[in-house]
């Protein structure tokens, strides 16, 4: 499968601070990327996506940045809240419409 990894397995941030979660991918042909959030006991939930013809996309309190030159993806969460505590996965799609998922980063928000 694809090599989709995350730089850090865990991340702790103070409530109200911004969080940045990183992801590296290896397939330069990948053209669609998604960030998922997984809370304990639940399945992954779609947060935001980005296509390879973009380098930035913003949602509500979240921003995804794509750097195709270094094959790097990041998720920025503004004003992190306790409800943001979860595991975050990046996923890439290349040929064959198959998604390859990273191993996840566990985000803990400290009140």
């Amino acid at each position: 499968g694809e090599n989709v990894g995350l730089h850090l397995p865990t991340l702790s941030v103070q409530e109200g601070d911004n969080s940045i979660i990183n992801c590296a991918y290896s397939n330069s042909a990948s053209d669609y990327f998604i960030w998922y959030k997984q809370e304990s006991g639940k399945g992954p939930q779609f947060i935001i996506d980005i296509r390879s013809n973009m380098d930035k996309r913003q949602g509500q309190r979240v921003t995804v940045l794509l750097n195709k030159t270094v094959k790097h993806l990041s998720l920025q969460i503004a004003a992190t809240q306790p409800g943001d505590s979860a595991v975050y996965f990046c996923a890439e799609m290349s040929t064959g419409n198959q998604f390859y998922f990273g191993t996840g980063t566990s985000l803990t928000v400290i009140p």
């Binding site: 998922y36 399945g43 996923a91 998604f99």
Partner: protein, 113 residues
């Protein structure tokens, strides 16, 4: 609109036994997939179906799948092995996930002893 529903939530199986993990979606999605999730391994695709009545890749050893209708996508463990201990996630999507990705169920946590 329940989304993707998986049953059971938890199950313990003895080696050699078989069981079926149930998955149902009510969103009229064509694509349905099964993933397994293991610590430190991310999500690994087991199998996917692009539409009812179709099977789109070779089924891995130890598993059996069927897609008789749009809504249901059961995964059968034929003769369970400890290596199949995992959290199994079912997902569905409208067009293979190219818009808004997949909708996942809450998972079945399976332990094979």
């Amino acid at each position: 609109n329940a989304g993707v529903t998986q049953t059971p939530k938890f199950h313990i199986l003895k080696t050699g036994q078989s069981m079926t993990l149930q998955c149902a979606q009510d969103m009229n999605h064509g694509y349905m997939s099964w993933y397994r999730q293991d610590p430190g391994m991310g999500l690994r695709l087991i199998y996917y179906s692009a539409a009812a009545g179709t099977t789109d890749k070779e089924v891995p050893n130890g598993y059996n799948v069927s897609r008789l209708n749009t809504e249901d996508f059961p995964l059968r463990l034929v003769s369970a092995a400890p290596s199949q201990t995992s959290v199994y996630l079912c997902a569905s999507s409208y067009r293979g996930g190219v818009d808004y990705g997949y909708t996942f169920g809450s998972g079945t946590r399976l332990t094979v002893v």
